[in-house]
Symmetry: C2
């Protein structure tokens, strides 16, 4: 897909920079909701639209071992933003396709587990 995805991405020097980028998280919110809605649609066999809430995103950040890349005193909102930022960053950098994101979310019955798996894959494939 020639979506010119990277042209608006600045250079990030570390995973922490990605995880704490609020505008990136805002774009990631839209990405995560769309991928999750597609996963639910495929699982249900008919169209579905649903937002990914903050709690499973925050929990996935912890399970994926990303907590240590964030400042020590943060609220849950920062945790869920971190997940959204990394999910879309991995897509923008072409290390995870939309198809793979939908697949992983579809195959995991539990949303936290699906998100955790995606974050682990993203972290493992991104180089700084």
């Amino acid at each position: 897909m020639t979506l010119h995805k990277e042209q608006f991405l600045r250079d990030y020097e570390s995973l922490s920079q990605v995880l704490t980028d609020k505008p990136l998280a805002a774009l990631g919110d839209a990405y995560a909701n769309f991928a999750y809605s597609m996963a639910l649609s495929r699982k249900a066999g008919s169209p579905r639209g649903k937002k990914v809430k903050g709690a499973p995103l925050a929990e996935a950040v912890r399970r994926a071992g990303l907590r240590s890349y964030l400042p020590s005193r943060i609220d849950k909102h920062v945790l869920s933003d971190a997940a959204e930022a990394l999910l879309v960053y991995a897509w923008l950098k072409d290390v995870i396709t939309l198809e793979e994101s939908v697949d992983v979310l579809e195959k995991n019955d539990n949303l936290e587990e699906g998100l955790t798996e995606l974050l682990v894959r993203a972290k493992g494939r991104i180089k700084f």
Copy 2:
């Protein structure tokens, strides 16, 4: 993209059926928000996340000449749902790519105009 997009789509017999499918509109809401956020990101040169509100969607349905495919007495919410349903239906049926949706929204300074153009293209390319 082998996203197995169609497997959860039932057969629609008319444009009216697509436009009034609420679950399809719910998925379309996620699609529209993601495409619009990508368009804004490219235009701004940095990540953005923003939801498409109901008013421009409803206005685009009227401008695209789709009003007559809907029941006579409806509220604005049904109009905006109709736009979301058709936008994602065109993508699911592979007549408009995500890339094209982002492109059109990026190139039109006015969101209503961009949405109208997408709806007109969708309507012109879908066969029942």
